[in-house]
């Protein structure tokens, strides 16, 4: 039986939580095809990440580290992933659908001559369920190649629990010369949690009227230790950085509580947040589509009600 290879992702050599959501997918898929889960961690100095994920009860964790793997480059990483795939009787290669997953996995598919499904929500052993049309349609797809590749929508799976130690082995990769070079990374500095990992998200849209008013959004988010999100309109206007965009082409989130404030609910925005558990919408236009999916909607001028809401919650929390 073929094995499942999950590619681990890290941020500054700390395991990214979304890898654990993808691990739940991998474990479920392994049961369906009677295979085993192997995790691959690639990068110079990656052993700490490998150690972290080895506590989750997989058949083995493989590390691939050597000079030339300091920074992620699609060409080198895909070569390593393909080599490990071929050497380990792997039938399915998967990774969370992050910006790295989206960049890397199609190149892995090309290297292996494999078919690929993007943004997978489930696998029944034969077909993959995935989203299309900004999450407005689910498609069941069959991959006809012996090796299959997919990216996994992290929000569709629970975080895996620790499940016992797994053996860690190292793989000495051969690195092809890359035609791209890493120059630098300009990190968005924030003390708030990542959108994809936050349990409370407060998002603002065009109704905020300017970047200075996002303070109102941030104040409410900070009460819950939550994340701040924005619509494409707010990002395009330059009010908020691009990596805070929630939607089809931004981040797909599924928080416990999602505040949609001063945003109308464009199709592509709702595609990115409608799987949140409890949605609150505040908008002065009662016709705004966001109200159709909100658990509680308030038709009001956000500038009048938001400070009152934030202050009341702050008092109740005793902050």
């Amino acid at each position: 039986m073929a094995n499942i290879l999950l590619i681990a992702e890290d941020k500054k050599r700390e395991l990214k939580k979304v890898t654990l959501n993808a691990l739940t997918f991998a474990k479920q898929a392994a049961e369906k095809i009677n295979g085993q889960v192997i995790v691959l961690a690639v990068g110079a100095g990656i052993s700490k990440v490998a150690e972290e994920i080895s506590a989750y009860g997989v058949s083995k964790v493989i590390t691939a580290e050597t000079d030339g793997l300091e920074n992620y480059i699609a060409e080198t990483w895909s070569a390593v992933v393909a080599d490990v795939t071929r050497a380990n009787d792997v039938g399915l290669v998967c990774m969370a659908s992050t910006s790295m997953g989206k960049d890397l996995m199609p190149r892995v598919a090309a290297t292996l001559g494999a078919g690929m499904a993007s943004d997978v929500l489930g696998f029944d052993g034969a077909t993959f369920t995935r989203t299309m049309w900004a999450g407005n349609a689910y498609a069941n797809v069959e991959i006809t190649t012996p090796i299959k590749v997919c990216t996994v929508q992290g929000t569709a799976f629970d975080t895996a629990e620790k499940a016992g130690d797994s053996p860690v082995e190292s793989f000495m990769p051969t690195i092809p010369e890359a035609k791209t070079r890493f120059i630098g990374f300009n990190e968005s500095v924030s003390e708030r949690p990542d959108l994809t990992e936050a349990s409370v998200i407060v998002s603002g849209g065009r109704g905020l009227k300017g970047s200075e008013n996002f303070k109102l959004i941030e104040d409410l988010a900070d009460l819950f230790g939550g994340a701040v999100g924005a619509t494409r309109a707010a990002v395009d206007a330059g009010w908020m950085p691009n990596d805070l965009q929630v939607g089809q082409t931004g981040k797909i989130v599924a928080s416990d509580i999602y505040f949609a404030i001063g945003l109308s609910g464009a199709i592509q925005h709702m595609a990115g947040m409608k799987n949140s558990k409890y949605i609150i919408a505040i908008n002065k236009d009662e016709e705004a589509p966001i109200f159709e999916i909100a658990d509680a909607g308030l038709v009001a001028d956000l500038f009048k009600v938001l400070p009152e809401i934030t202050n009341t919650i702050r008092k109740e929390m005793g902050k």
Binding site: A110, T127, F185, I280, I313
Partner: protein, 248 residues
């Protein structure tokens, strides 16, 4: 510099999509179509490069005869000529990439710029697949592109910030939303586009077998969300937040 760009014909992203009752596909009657918005950004970027340093912009589309409309849109924006690779029925991203490999071998562009994903199937695969098949470098999700002779510097929108890569040319760039704001075709541009060359060829002419590796078996509607309750005022909203959402 010779730049190859793509123009996929997609369903209008502002129209609501409905899955057919029997799950066999998407309800397309009354649907309007347009050029994939990300491809439009790619075409704009290619035209800007040409305006700055000369060269040629070729727009390719893979699809039915109708996709000539999207190619003409690219030509009206300022591209020089078009190629339609005519297919009937569905092609998967892998087949599209393999068709593009042949077009690249034929046209030998210095650069390929494509939208990062098509807004219908949301695959986000073709640029990466193409780069993989060609053995070229890839710089995906570009928000800034600067050509410096035989290399390009690309700012990429990634999780947690902006990454900068240097890529050898020829190479593959996929365009993200903030790379530029595409121009609208002008009336003279539209008139001129009608006279620009547009070749139609078939996958067989390129010796490509377009049998898909990924086959769609059926569609379903995502689970409906039961929303729509409007509360009267702030106290009622706070009560819902406290009692139903358990927020505080």
């Amino acid at each position: 510099m010779k730049v190859l760009v793509t123009a996929k014909r997609v369903t209008d992203p502002d129209m609501k999509i409905k899955v057919k009752a029997d799950g066999s596909g998407i309800e397309l009657s009354g649907m309007s179509y347009k050029i994939n918005p990300f491809d439009e950004i790619a075409i704009e970027e290619a035209i800007r490069i040409k305006e700055q340093s000369g060269g040629e912009v070729i727009v390719a589309s893979i699809g039915g005869d109708e996709a000539q409309t999207e190619i003409r849109t690219g030509l009206a924006m300022g591209a020089d000529r078009g190629i339609l690779v005519k297919t009937d029925g569905d092609v998967d991203s892998d087949a599209v990439a393999r068709v593009l490999v042949k077009l690249v071998e034929k046209e030998r562009p210095d650069l390929v710029i494509m939208g990062k994903q098509a807004v219908d199937l949301d695959d986000n695969q073709v640029p990466q697949l193409l780069a993989g098949y060609l053995g070229w470098g890839q710089a995906c999700f570009a928000s800034k592109l600067q050509i410096n002779g035989n290399t390009a510097t690309v700012a990429r929108e990634v999780d947690g910030g902006i990454e900068t890569l240097e890529i050898d040319l020829p190479g593959i760039i996929s365009a993200d939303l903030r790379l530029n704001e595409p121009r609208y075709p002008t009336l003279p541009g539209i008139m001129k586009a009608k006279k620009k060359p547009l070749d139609t060829i078939h996958p067989a002419d390129l010796d490509v077998d377009i049998t898909p590796k990924v086959v769609v078996k059926g569609f379903s509607n995502p689970p409906e969300r039961k929303g729509g309750r409007i509360v009267a005022d702030v106290p009622e909203l706070l009560k819902a937040l406290k009692d139903e959402a358990g927020a505080f």
